[in-house]
């Protein structure tokens, strides 16, 4: 009796091992992942089961028999589950179907994606986060501290360009009403065509960074919340705009809704003479830093002059301040102001800052001369040291109705930026109208 059991066990052992080896051969030799899985799942489990049974019989003790039976049961129960899950995952992950397969019964049922760790072959598109080149005013990197050179002096003529088309971005937020009203006033005054554009330049915020527990969920939540906020803002602003223009019968105005990414906005702007934006209009529909505002990006793209409206003053603009620093763009502020044709009656103050840097003095003088030549009243203020106190500057800026500057913020990123005070930011916060030519 015992001998028969041993012979049976030996047969099971060798047979099971052979079946497992055949399964291994199948995994290596078959042509597509699904066939390989079929070999691994069926033949592999059958072979391992036979081998385990043989082992149990060979020991002959109840404990060993029970253990091997438990292992076989476990294998038979779990192998179908595991291989089904793997097969589905392989299909979704885009594993190739062999040439021998006649039909694909899952096409249209499951989506086929790409899973590959090789970054050159991943389907993720790595678009640049910063579509516009950075303004490098006051950069710590020496070669970017260029004074206004010959390139800057060869500028377009400073003749005012007639305002023919004005674009008003309907982004929403607290300053939108003011911005719309300002745009309508400008368009009425110049007889220009007014276009209200909503939705453009905004994209839902997506953050794929480490978000603690449930990162993907929170990232998704963030994106959908930001999208909903954007749509709400755009709808409210559009409605307000429609009401405002219906109250102005003679005005050539229209409203558009365009969902374009921030880097496409510059293309939409082509052909407009002025862009009016509310203050605090961020690209995600939520309040954001000055340097992330849409106005900031547009100013860097230099497609059209940008007018950022924080609030409207009841009186017409009488005092304008020009902020001249060491960046190249600061040399063209007067030209931009003259070209825009805005505020022809206002008195202009030029505020240099950090004039110990090369070229600042020269830019201030040449711009004052240019403005005087065009019959403006110009005063050059004493230079501002970069170690200034924000409340002092605010107190001095309160009397101005508008500011002209090259960018909204010169802070870039990094640890030290969090403790710096930026002239541009203080000005943009204090002065109601900001022109970024």
């Amino acid at each position: 009796m015992r001998a028969a059991v041993e012979v049976l066990a030996a047969l099971l052992l060798v047979g099971g091992a052979s079946v497992v080896a055949l399964a291994a051969l199948g995994v290596a030799r078959l042509t597509d992942p699904f066939m390989r899985m079929h070999a691994a799942a069926k033949a592999g489990v059958a072979g391992a089961g036979l081998l385990l049974l043989g082992t149990g019989l060979a020991f002959g003790t109840p404990g060993a028999l029970a253990t091997s039976l438990a292992a076989v049961t476990f294998l038979v129960l779990t192998a179908p589950l595991a291989s089904h899950a793997l097969g589905r995952a392989a299909y979704v992950a885009g594993a190739p179907l062999g040439a021998a397969s006649l039909t694909d019964a899952l096409s249209g049922v499951l989506q086929r994606n790409v899973f590959d760790i090789d970054p050159a072959r991943t389907a993720r598109s790595w678009t640049a986060r910063e579509p516009f080149p950075k303004d490098t005013a006051m950069s710590a990197i020496p070669e970017f501290r260029r004074p206004a050179g010959p390139a800057a002096s060869a500028q377009p003529a400073a003749e005012p360009v007639a305002l023919r088309r004005i674009l008003c971005c309907l982004v929403g937020g607290p300053a939108q009403t003011e911005a719309t009203a300002e745009a309508i006033t400008l368009a009425r005054g110049a007889g220009a065509q007014l276009v209200g554009l909503s939705g453009a330049g905004q994209s839902a915020r997506e953050w794929r960074g480490p978000l603690g527990v449930g990162g993907a969920f929170w990232s998704e939540w963030l994106a959908s919340r930001s999208r909903a906020k954007m749509r709400e803002n755009a709808a409210a602003a559009l409605q307000e705009f429609q009401e405002a223009i219906s109250a102005q019968p003679g005005l050539d105005a229209q409203a558009r809704h365009e969902e374009a990414e921030p880097h496409l906005l510059a293309r939409l702007l082509a052909g407009h003479d002025l862009v009016v934006l509310p203050a605090g209009a961020g690209p995600h529909g939520l309040p954001c830093d000055l340097r992330d505002e849409i106005a900031s990006g547009l100013a860097r793209a230099r497609v059209a002059p940008v007018l950022r409206v924080a609030r409207r003053s009841v009186r017409p603009v009488r005092d304008v301040i020009l902020l001249v620093g060491s960046s190249e763009a600061c040399g063209a502020l007067a030209t931009g102001l003259l070209r825009s044709g805005l505020w022809a009656q206002a008195a202009i103050s030029i505020q240099p800052f950090a004039d110990d840097r090369r070229g600042v003095r020269a830019m201030v003088d040449s711009q004052a001369e240019l403005l005087r030549a065009h019959g403006r009243r110009v005063a050059v203020l004493p230079s501002l040291d970069l170690d200034f106190e924000a409340p002092d500057l605010r107190a001095r800026l309160v009397r101005y109705d508008a500011a002209v500057m090259s960018c909204l913020s010169t802070r870039h990123d990094g640890f030290l930026d969090s403790i710096r005070i930026c002239v541009h930011e203080v000005t943009a916060d204090t002065v109601p109208l900001t022109l970024l030519p």
Partner: protein
């Protein structure tokens, strides 16, 4: 009385299973897609179960059978985890840019 057949059969089976590891390892190294590698890993786990059982026989110690059971358990969990990874981490295929 024993026939003395079991140690021989176990040795032969161990050689066969060990030979079976070679093509699976080759597939694991060369598998063109990630799914192939996952399948090969799964198959290696199964071969590990067989080897543990055969070691139990050769060493004549039933405790090694528990190891076979453990490997089967971990192999299942591993396969499910890999399936989840493949499904979750795959991304939509690249679109042709508009311009």
């Amino acid at each position: 009385m024993t026939t003395g057949l079991i140690p021989w059969a176990a040795a032969i089976a161990a050689i066969i299973v060990a030979l079976g590891c070679i093509p699976v390892a080759a597939r694991l190294l060369s598998g063109p897609s990630s799914a192939d590698r996952v399948i090969a890993t799964d198959m290696l786990g199964l071969l590990g179960v067989c080897i543990a059982a055969l070691v139990a026989l050769i060493a004549w110690h039933p405790a090694f059978l528990d190891i076979a059971l453990g490997i089967a358990l971990v192999g299942f969990l591993g396969a499910v985890a890999f399936a989840r990874l493949l499904e979750r981490a795959s991304v939509a295929p690249a679109q042709e840019p508009a311009e």
